[in-house]
């Protein structure tokens, strides 16, 4: 990397906030995505919006690419470095600036860990609903940039539904403030929305005003087990068709159940084909009613057994076990490639069947889990990156799965973003007109293409 830039960065941030040693750079060469690996030019840890503005100004003048990174748990290669880039890591900007119970908001820096915000909201009787599987370590900046979902998405929506205002540093160093603390605000285009899910390609988010929600008074968690995956999928469609919106309807298949149990040891049944983790929350009376109805619907749709979590502690244990699903699958294979196909909920059973058939057709092993209530499945290929022949079959299989999802009116990614991993497939969803607009927007915000170049499209 150009020595002048490094000197300039060290002068601005202090030498200990600029990493250039090979042993350091190697550890930023990847995110949570399998196989992808690329060593950056340097890694910097800014502390303020102003510092980020100066860094971007410098990078823009010198045409040095900048890849923003939170905790690097992304699953589409979004924060993967490009050669010779500056990795701008936000983890040291981790202050919760305020929690405002009067307005039900919180103002945070982008490096705040998702769960820390929820913990800070709890004493006020509030909570922050988006709870991705990675919430113990993912950053809120990363959540916004990927518009992450979570286990409670069905009822509470995704990150986008909670972002009220943003401070964003643009490629030329300008600082944009967009959005307000008002519940209603129609002054001009809704610029903040463009940055939600922008994957670090349009600007660097440096402050986030988030909406908080009163904590529900009661919740009830249940486990339903099935002897076929289709039956679980049909249960989900039936619950929604009966106009019940639980907060969680999570699904695990046999392979995933085994891996999760192997790790978490919470006594999941091992002799079933599928399992649904169901949760409803809200007013105690409504919770009771809904839980009873969900249990009944599950049984009507072929559930072998429905059990209710004894207490909050057990409910939390079940949810965290579910959160470990993806990583736990790595127990059975050296490389796990997880996909994120999403379909309208009425097509869930069909999609599940298709995934099974595709796995058989290409002779690849798959473990599937996901946010079934959102129609968001994570078929995970259990493979070995050193087996090139198998990796090739895996690629063929997921191409077919994506095409099927889109044909059913779904999408290639429900929550993990496009990044590098799904870039090839984006046109399937956007069509040529949509893709053109993407490119124009990028050109307008970042004419020199320094922000996370080569990602998304």
């Amino acid at each position: 990397m150009n020595a002048n830039i490094l000197t300039e960065l060290s002068r601005l941030l202090g030498a200990d906030r600029v990493l250039t040693q090979r042993e350091d750079l190697l550890t930023y060469a990847f995110d949570g995505t399998p196989i992808l690996n690329e060593i950056p030019g340097c890694v910097v840890f800014p502390d303020s919006t102003e510092q980020i503005s100066t860094i971007l100004k410098l990078a823009n003048e010198q045409r040095v690419p900048v890849v923003t990174r939170g905790s690097g748990t992304g699953l589409s290669g979004g924060s993967l470095p490009v050669p010779g880039c500056i990795v701008l890591c936000t983890v040291k900007m981790d202050r919760i600036l305020n929690v405002d119970p009067a307005n039900l908001t919180a103002l945070v820096e982008p490096g705040v860990i998702t769960m820390k915000l929820d913990e800070a909201a709890q004493p006020h009787g509030l909570f922050y609903p988006p709870d991705p599987g990675s919430m113990k370590i993912s950053t809120l900046g990363g959540n916004v940039a990927n518009n992450s979902g979570g286990l409670r998405g069905l009822k509470y929506g995704v990150t986008r539904d909670y972002v009220m205002a943003l401070d964003v540093v643009l490629a030329n160093g300008d600082i944009l403030k967009t959005g307000t603390a008002c519940v209603k605000d129609v002054a001009g285009y809704y610029l903040k929305d463009i940055f939600i899910g922008s994957e670090g390609t349009l600007g660097v988010i440096t402050k986030i005003l988030l909406k908080l929600v009163p904590k529900p008074k009661a919740r009830k968690t249940m486990l339903a087990t099935y002897s076929t995956m289709q039956a679980a999928a049909e249960t989900v469609s039936a619950i929604i068709a009966q106009k019940i919106i639980p907060c969680t309807l999570e699904f695990l298949d046999r392979t995933t159940i085994r891996c999760v149990e192997d790790y978490a040891k919470i006594g999941l049944p091992l002799d079933v084909e599928a399992l649904l983790l169901m949760e409803t929350d809200g007013h105690p009376v409504v919770v009771e009613e809904e839980a009873a109805a969900m249990s009944r619907i599950a049984k009507e749709n072929g559930a072998v057994a429905v059990t209710v979590a004894r207490d909050n502690e057990e409910a939390t244990r079940l949810a965290s076990a579910r959160r470990s699903a993806f990583s736990a699958l790595a127990r059975v294979a050296p490389t796990t490639i997880l996909e994120d196909a999403t379909v309208p909920r009425s097509h869930l059973a069909e999609m599940i069947g298709f995934i099974q058939k595709t796995a058989e057709k290409y002779k690849v092993k798959i473990g599937t889990f996901g946010h079934m209530g959102d129609g968001n499945l994570h078929p995970t290929f259990l493979t070995d990156e050193r087996n090139t022949d198998e990796i090739h079959r895996v690629e063929q299989a997921f191409t077919e799965i994506f095409e099927k999802a889109v044909a059913l009116g779904g999408t290639i990614t429900g929550e993990h973003g496009v990044g590098l991993a799904k870039k090839k497939f984006l046109p399937l969803v956007t069509g040529p007109v949509g893709l053109g607009i993407h490119k124009q927007l990028k050109q307008m915000f970042d004419p020199n293409g320094i922000l996370n170049p080569g990602k998304m499209f």
């Binding site: 042993e23 990847f30 981790d94 790595a330």
Partner: protein, 410 residues
């Protein structure tokens, strides 16, 4: 793991161990060094990436690599947190062994200290006891008090000055090696069990009272206790510091001293030692003469607190002062290294009629001790930075005790 001198420890490791990490980052929030620095290279995921780079031949075990491996506290919190089942303990030992093999951190001062500690002092109980006696004299004759009061310490180098107040008090007696209990409790309903007790190295000098308590409690619970002569340090210090061959030699000595065929359990009251002892099978996997015994040994190793729960201990009959408060401190290596979690819940259940105090989140206790007492300047520097989450819980110096006290007195 038979390594001749020229091989690369990480390259020789089964690749699946290196490849197991899928870099999801779920371990990061549990790691004290990541918490303090927020740098990937000081995180489990980053360290594993570096190890893999060495295994892949993309990186030499450089000084920076070695520094990172020694900055790791070996607390194994990451191993418990990892859903993917990464064998961090194994990786970490191999990474340090590789660092030592290539001499990445070698310098005359360090070499001398290591030689003195690992090869000379901790390799022989006789020498350790000799030094223990000298330290005891220093303390008993009031020399320590004199040195502290007179301000003589001000003349000592800064590192020694910082460490001196933490030097543990040497007990009056060592653990009775060669001890064999007459079975004292024939009325007990519990089946007579035969157990061997490992006295440890530092524990033998500074916590021999705890060792005595351990023996006493075991006997009170119907166990016939053996404290075989000829036993040595468990070798964890050597294993964790990259001295693989010495760790093996010590393991062999212990296997010679304890009759694993006859004993029902090998009891240890220091969690870090127990954690290492459970892996004698792996340590000696290429040694046909010892492997069979090593496997039995690994199966039979138990932490004292775990074993008491396992055999259903008898609650002490005596009366406890009503003001006494009890707690149970779960040692990092017990929870993460030995994966033994049952004792805490069990104890709080059994002693619920007493004043029980639930020890707050325990993570970072080892970390706090390492950070504040380590001669490694980076630890101390980072400690000041990462104070909030790694500072020890309040309470009179309890965190300064090594784990034996905590686990055996619970």
């Amino acid at each position: 793991m038979s390594h001749s001198v020229s091989e690369n420890f990480l390259k020789d490791l089964d690749y699946s161990v290196v490849q197991q990490c899928m870099h999801c980052g779920m371990c990061l929030p549990t790691c004290p060094t990541y918490d303090a620095t927020k740098r990937e290279s000081a995180s489990p995921r980053g360290r594993i990436a570096l190890m893999r780079a060495v295994a892949d031949g993309k990186l030499e075990a450089t000084k920076a690599f070695g520094d990172e491996m020694y900055f790791c506290l070996g607390c194994l919190a990451c191993e418990t947190a990892c859903p993917a089942g990464v064998d961090y303990a194994n990786l970490f030992e191999m990474a340090r062994a590789e660092t030592e093999r290539v001499g990445a951190l070698a310098n005359p001062k360090r070499n001398l200290i290591r030689k003195f500690l690992l090869r000379w002092l901790f390799f022989s109980r006789a020498r350790l006891r000799l030094v223990g006696r000298l330290l005891w004299i220093y303390q008993k004759l009031g020399l320590q008090t004199f040195v502290r009061k007179s301000g003589l310490m001000r003349l000592a180098p800064k590192q020694l000055r910082e460490l001196e107040p933490l030097s543990p008090t040497v007990c009056n007696h060592f653990t009775p090696l060669g001890y064999h209990s007459e079975f004292r409790n024939p009325q007990s309903a519990i089946r007579n069990r035969r157990v061997g007790v490992l006295a440890g190295c530092v524990a033998d000098l500074t916590f021999s009272d705890v060792n005595m308590d351990t023996i006493f409690v075991l006997e009170q619970n119907g166990c016939e206790v053996f404290v075989p002569a000829g036993q040595e340090c468990c070798g964890s210090l050597h294993g964790h510091n990259g001295e693989w061959e010495m760790a093996k030699a010590l393991a062999r000595k212990n296997l010679d001293a304890f009759d694993v065929h006859v004993l029902d359990a090998i009891i240890i009251n220091a969690a870090g030692c127990g954690s290492h002892m459970r892996h004698y099978d792996r340590l000696l996997e290429d040694d046909p003469a010892y492997l069979e015994r090593a496997k039995l040994w690994s199966e039979k190793v138990r932490d004292i607190s775990e074993y008491l729960v396992e055999i259903g201990f008898r609650k002490p009959a005596g009366k406890m002062n009503s003001k006494t408060r009890l707690t149970y401190h779960e040692a990092c290596h017990l929870v993460h290294g030995q994966k033994s979690r049952s004792s805490r819940g069990h104890c709080s259940q059994r002693f619920r009629d007493m004043r029980w105090w639930n020890c707050p989140r325990q993570r970072g206790v080892v970390a706090a001790r390492e950070f504040t007492t380590s001669p490694n300047p980076r630890w101390r520097r980072n400690c000041r930075r990462g104070k909030s989450s790694t500072s020890p819980p309040p309470g009179p110096s309890w965190w300064r005790r090594p784990t034996p006290a905590a686990s055996s007195r619970s």
